[in-house]
Amino acid sequence: MSDMSDDNDYYSDEDMFDGTQDEDESGDEMELDNFGDDFKVPAKDKKKSYEVDYDSLSQQAVEKLMARDINHICSILGVEVDTASLLLRDQKWNKEKLIEKYMDNPTKVSVDAGATLPETGPPPPAPLRNSTSSSSQSSNRRTTRGSKMLGLGPKTKSPTSSPTISHHVPQSLKRASSKKAEDFFVCQICFNDAPNLQTLALDCDHAFCTECWGDYIVSKIKEESEHSIRCMAEGCALVAPDHFIRDTLLPAPGAPVGDVERESQNIAAWTRFQELIVRHFVGCNRNLKFCPYPSCTNTVSCPSAASKASLASTVPIVSCGARGIGPQDQEISKSQQLGFGLQGKEHRFCFGCPIESDHRPVICAVSKMWLKKCADDSETANWIKSNTKECPICQSTIEKNGGCNHMTCKKCKNEFCWVCMGPWSEHGTAWYSCNRFDEKAGVDARDAQSKSRASLERYLHYYNRWANHEQSAKLSVDLYAKTEKKMEDMQITSALTWIEVQFMKKAVEEVEKCRTTLKWTYSMAYYLAKGNEKELFEDNQRDLEKAVEDLSELLESPIEPDTIPTLRQSVTNKTVYVQKRNEIVLEDTANGFLEGRWKWNVAVDGFDDPEETVL
């Protein structure tokens, strides 16, 4: 049992931590969670060195931020809300740049954004060459625009003259109004010439029928994810303001139900349009990132990770606050409904890079390098992912069906480690290191061929462990699903309460979390320069690995009603211990980045060049 020595290591290391660590397992200052006394979690307000400050924002919250910028621009430049929105979108939401440019040349900025027509010069080419509608070609359009909207009654207003985003022209009014008798209009897109055809136009007076406008806007939004939607006339650069899009897409309140399919498609497009603008705003702001999970519309704000320099010392793992994968994720099990809030996976992602999961403790640049290396070498390493191996003693085939790496051959009873195939009895002892790669072979290599073999062996050592933790995490979750079913059954047949059979869930979650940490530590160790610091890193890695394997093994022991109380006690103890070992790895690695302790064997952005290159 190596727990004692591990604990000693741990306490001797404690001065490395900045005091945010909970040192006492039985300390009572910890917050109690749903598990009663079984598990304690540290108080939420204590920020660990491996955590970043961030806020998660709903789409509405981001819309409020946008509205603040828009209103600010309205008051400074004296423009309407929709115009301000178009100007800001065109200037990538940079208010200062917009104000500066606008002060310099308001017309140019406004025309470039598609908010107004060019004041001088020839009007945009009229697309209605064959049309008998003469009014649409009138050149004095700016002075008479309000009444120029074909098909609209005199009371309706031109879209861009509306002061706010709100719904100004009830659709029913538009639909009810009749066309002027003298206008003989043919829509130049669908060639419809029906006498009561409803039409719409932007300030440019390029009129087309309402249905064509709707289909065009939907197509732009759906197929091109476009929020800047230009007039349909050739060469016309005017952009449809927000409320024009809304009035075109949304049915007026109380309007008769038309084509149901078309209407629901239009409503979906309007929802998507609003999301696209929020995405654009978020994409233009370094402090914000849109949640990458499918159909999620939340945003995370993390100003401390906005600069590239900060990413050399922090791993900004954030969560948008949502779980699951949208409305289709309806498979919620009974215990989940009972209040654990586990409706699917938490939306956890990295704020600093495109990795959509937790890659602590490794910084983005190194993670990226490692993933690229793995992708490049995927063929070489494919065999590792296999679920079966041969017993090193009797060569019979052994299948791995749980997360535990302690294997026992059914035939010869040989106990060995799935990862290194070495004897299990020596694992966890000071002289045996399953996690450490013996660099000597590479140093001794003289010729190119043995050098490249040594380099491949080195890579495979790390990749093997990386892939194994990923696989084991998945397998233990699978195995847990079976166990959970059994425990639920036991509740019915025995006197156990629901709370008493929940200890496994927490333990499996912890194992999964720790295996994720372990997985990434192998990518870090692959690139860490040889030396004392790397050895300390690998000591912590080894201790966490040993603790996780012990707990993993325990989780696979047979469960019967009369064994539950003792099992519960040891699983709970081990879970708390594993949690602590994980904290140590995360904290120490994060502190190492802050203190500049880590040195690499390759060039990494934001770090000094390596003294010697191993690879």
Partner: protein, 215 residues
């Protein structure tokens, strides 16, 4: 009736009625959404005298999304891929407007032949040729017009240049049929006549090439 179908039918009919433009639109098969456009090469250009065919595919959301066009006839032009016939033209992408029609788009293609845009090339090799030596570029363009688009002029051009390359054929294709026992010159002639370029529309099966070679 489906709005897209109504519009396309009207466009085809309008084009048929207009004899002055020289633009033609024909059905390829039963579908009104897969068409073949054609037009004469513009005067005072290396394409004069040639007749150019364009493959037209009308997407689901036409006319709100641009029509897809590419040259069937091999053409030597900076904005057209000499291998695939793909076209680089703004109105086929961002600058598309739903008021544009098949005919107006084909007219735009025709005027693209008058005024190449080598700064925004589709075929970098051809664009480089155009920039470095315009007259030599025009020689090749004229030669391609002759052999692929039925243009006038002497069919022989044996001034020592690589025949396969100047015909824009792929050596592998020529080699393959030569290996069947046909004369190299004959293979080049036949592939030219067939407008052969591997997987292009319409796809030409090997049997068809051999048939041509046996003529």
């Amino acid at each position: 009736m489906d709005a897209r179908l109504r519009r396309v039918n009207k466009e085809i009919a309008d084009c048929k009625n207009d004899k002055s433009s020289g633009i033609r639109i024909d059905l390829v098969d039963e579908s009104p959404f897969h068409l073949k456009g054609s037009f004469p090469g513009p005067q005072d250009t290396p394409y004069e005298g040639g007749y150019f065919e364009v493959d037209i595919v009308i997407p689901e959301s036409y006319p709100f999304q641009p029509v897809k066009m590419k040259f069937i006839t091999k053409i030597y032009h900076p904005n057209v891929s000499s291998a695939s016939g793909a076209i680089c033209l703004d109105i086929l992408k961002d600058a598309w407007s739903p008021v544009l029609t098949l005919k107006s788009t084909l007219i735009s293609l025709q005027s693209l032949l008058c005024s190449p845009e080598p700064s925004d090339p589709q075929d970098a090799e051809v664009a480089k040729h155009y920039m470095t030596s315009k007259s030599s570029f025009e020689d090749t363009a004229r030669y391609w017009t002759q052999i692929y688009a039925g243009g006038p002029g002497p069919k022989e051009k044996s001034d020592g240049k690589d025949e396969v390359a100047i015909a824009g054929l792929e050596r592998a294709h020529v080699d393959r049929f030569e290996a069947l026992g046909f004369q190299r010159g004959k293979v080049i002639d036949a592939l030219r006549r067939l407008n052969y370029r591997g997987p292009n529309v319409p796809k030409i099966p090997d049997d068809r090439v051999v048939e041509e070679l046996l003529k």
